[in-house]
Amino acid sequence: MSSAFPAMKILQPLSTTRSPEKPLFDLLKSPSSFLGSASKLRFNAQKPSPSSSYSSSCHRPSTIVAVSDVVKEKKTLKSNSSLSNLLITKEEGLELYEDMVLGRAFEDMCAQMYYRGKMFGFVHLYNGQEAVSTGFIKLLKQEDYVCSTYRDHVHALSKGVPARAVMSELFGKTTGCCRGQGGSMHMFSKEHNLLGGFAFIGEGIPVATGAAFTSKYRREVLKEAGCDSVTLAFFGDGTCNNGQFFECLNMAALWKLPIVFVVENNLWAIGMSHLRATSDPEIWKKGPAFGMPGVHVDGMDVLKVREVAKEAIARARRGEGPTLVECETYRFRGHSLADPDELRDPAEKARYSARDPITALKKYMIENNLVNEAELKAIERRIDEVIEDAVEFGDKSPLPSRSQLLENVFADPKGFGIGPDGKYRCEDPKFTEGTAHV
């Protein structure tokens, strides 16, 4: 077993002990245990990992179809640590590292700014989950789409939205990516094809499905031969109990839409443990029920995520349809900056902190002689400067003026209607001042 992945020493939950003969939850044996307390969480480190063939990113019992054999092959490659068989090149490694460090540093700065009263409302930080965002989004092209939830700052950064634009948006300034009108939970970027930023969970999944539908439509109806945009929909474990999730799995598989459903299973929906909310907590299993592969991957390990993502995205690009990828991950901070985070077991937090994806990647790259410390330090310094610059930019940017209030309600402002004087409301000079009566 390669020593390159410290994560491998730690329990891989879910399907390790699973097999058709030995289900994870044997209902006959423990019928009455109501999963009420956190101590019953199955992610306790009591179940050893028996399988030595474990070095894979994909766990699935033989009864359920998952991704192709391409990935199965790759997992044996990973255990060989010779340079030619490494999963990433130096350039790729540095790109991944920089992206994750950017995400982490940005979120830490958000927390600081929030407590200093520079941003308000609900702010949901992504600390600890960087491997999922980086692992997936860094494989995309500019014309691919990303659709997220309220925990969207890092998705925006990974997709290419400048840190300045995101920070400025959080400060509520006009130079923000949404002119200050969206805020933390509504990050959008037409240039980078970031479709949001949604405050209600599950709401973004149909939108992502629609973007995938457009991609298919452009290829098949509009006959744009080169169009093969893929859409990634990110959402959490709580969302997987929502109707829109299931409805979209059905439609995406039915029409073979080029979409990847990425579940960021961090085990907690605010204070609701995933196990207390879900009859069958293994989300990846729900993919095959709809006719698409379901994959489980260690979401604290960016290289594993990347391998799975490569296959899922390629599948979608080839027109073979959607994939459901469940990333087991964890958020180091509370649900939002307003969450006291008292329910989670400190031991659980500590266990996942030890699997910090940034530390893991750093260790991998150094042990495999891809980079040296100095190069990584240089990246960290550069990122610090980017963040400082972003904050400064946000501070100096102007607040929105009154005239901005009504500008974007309608794409066609004739929608405000005709006033008593016979003119369209939007022709009223007071309209742009934001003082018009509509």
């Binding site: 923000g176 037409k190 949604f198 149909p206 629609g210 457009t214 439509y217 109806v221 794409a411």
Partner: protein, 462 residues
């Protein structure tokens, strides 16, 4: 010379309050004339009064006349708008006869009606001649659902990004046949049969609209769109704003709603009020084949999200519509029947109840002005305002529920903007705040019936 007319309406009073000439003498109003003469119009030699009337139902043709060719004034000394002014607005023409008798024949703004001068009018003859005039112009007869389909097909031909999504819109042709034959013509992806998942396929349409397509979502019944409320309210209405104007959502959401024939409570919902507060969307309601096609085309071409309310009972209305292409304005109201005594604002199916009541009202000597507001959000305050300024009395007749309905909003808007012009409080007839009952008698009492409209007008005009 007495001009004999077959039984119906004369419109003439430029103001329902007394009109005076420049010497301060009160001009006789038509209402007065009618009361005296029992429904026939008389050309009084001292005033050279010539009045034409037409049956209010006939292709919307209307006659207006001046009571005096000199200027008329109201009791405050303000000049009343003359017929000439009215005609300029309406696009008819004015003929000044040498004996100072004005013979006027105005037609409403609709393209196909020809303006014709009729000097010796007998209503029946008038109808026939204008009818034949219209048919000579061209046009084709069509049912409302076919008109919707025609509009849809024209737009799909014009722009390949226009697509339809909904339950049974494809192979089945739409449960009200609004998309019949389209799937064969355009394929299964452009006319998409969706699974029964309103919230998700509406959201999918939003995502498609954001990324470049122009989808039309059909709710098999408007009531089903309640399941899509999350996507309509949060995403359709909001995303253009919260994205800072980066993404537009040129989506059309349409479907049949309203009270049908004993369809039961859930299939007989009137959802205009539920959606009207959502910022960022427009709502229109069609009522005739002509405006159905025009509004459908306008909604598809609009960059804003538009909800198009159709009515289950109006799909089989037949009308002749122009052959040439036309698009109506989403924000404008439609003048159905100009009048002088009272403004009746209505939309969708209630338009027909109002017009039926109008026949009775006209027989009783009233002259209602009927406006189909068409644009439920935003209101066309110009057309409505001009009408209020003319008649000073407003009756709103709607199928929406009383509480928080379109009528409630309209009442507030008129009160705010035109309070000074009102001679009476605004009356609003809405359907009852009940889930539509199944039993036929109860269902009939749920919606506003023509008799109630007549009573309300009589009360308002006292």
């Amino acid at each position: 010379m007495a001009v004999m007319l077959q039984g119906v309406v004369a419109t003439a009073a430029l103001s329902s309050s007394a009109a005076f000439d420049s010497k301060g003498a009160q001009l006789p109003t038509v209402k007065f004339l009618l009361e005296r003469k029992g429904g026939f119009l008389v050309d009084r030699s001292d005033r050279r009064l010539a009045v034409f009337a037409s049956n209010a139902r006939a292709q919307g043709v209307v006659a207006t006349a001046a009571l005096s060719s000199s200027a008329a004034f109201d009791s405050k000394g303000a000049q009343l708008p003359t017929v000439k002014f009215l005609l300029e607005r309406k696009g008819g023409f004015l003929v000044d006869r040498s004996d100072r008798r004005l013979a006027v024949f105005a037609s409403n703004a609709r393209a196909r009606s020809a303006s014709r001068l009729v000097t010796n009018a007998v209503a029946a003859k008038t109808d026939k001649s204008t009818a034949s005039a219209a048919s000579k112009i061209g046009g084709h007869e069509i049912l409302l659902f076919e008109a919707l389909r025609e509009g849809l097909e024209e737009e799909m031909d014009r722009d390949p990004r226009v697509c339809v999504m909904g339950e049974d819109v494809g192979h089945y042709g739409g449960s009200y046949k609004a998309t019949k034959g389209l799937a064969k013509k355009y394929g299964d992806l452009r006319v998409l049969d969706t699974p029964i998942a309103e919230n998700s396929f509406t959201g999918m349409a939003v995502g498609a609209a954001m990324t470049g397509l122009r989808p039309i979502v059909e709710g098999m019944n408007m009531g089903f769109l309640l399941l899509a409320f999350n996507q309509i309210s949060n995403n359709c209405g909001m995303l253009h704003y919260t994205s800072g104007g980066q993404f537009k959502i040129p989506i059309v959401i349409r479907g049949p709603g309203g009270v049908g024939r004993q369809l039961g409570a859930e299939h007989s919902q009137r959802l205009e009020s539920y959606f009207q507060s959502i910022p960022g969307i427009q709502m229109v309601a069609c009522s005739t084949p002509y405006n159905a096609k025009g509004l459908m085309k306008a909604a598809i071409r609009s960059e804003n999200p538009v909800i198009l309310f159709e009515h289950v009972l109006l799909y089989n209305l037949k009308e002749k519509i122009p052959d040439e292409e036309y698009v109506l304005s989403l924000e404008e109201a439609e003048m159905v029947r100009p009048g002088e005594h009272i403004t009746i604002l209505t939309y969708s199916r209630m338009r027909y109840h109002v017009m039926q009541a109008a026949k009775t009202l006209v027989n009783k000597g009233y002259d209602p002005e009927v406006i189909d507001i068409r644009s439920l959000k935003p209101f066309d305050l110009y057309t409505i305002g001009n009408s209020v300024k003319k008649t000073h009395r407003v009756l709103i007749v709607e199928e929406c529920m009383r509480t928080g309905g379109i009528g409630a909003s309209l009442t507030a808007a008129i009160n705010e903007n035109f309070h000074d012009y009102l001679d009476a409080p605004i009356a609003c007839l809405s359907s009852q705040d009940v889930p539509t009952p199944y039993a036929g008698t109860l269902e009939e009492w749920t919606v506003v019936q023509p008799a109630q409209i007549v009573t309300a007008v009589e009360q308002l005009c006292q």
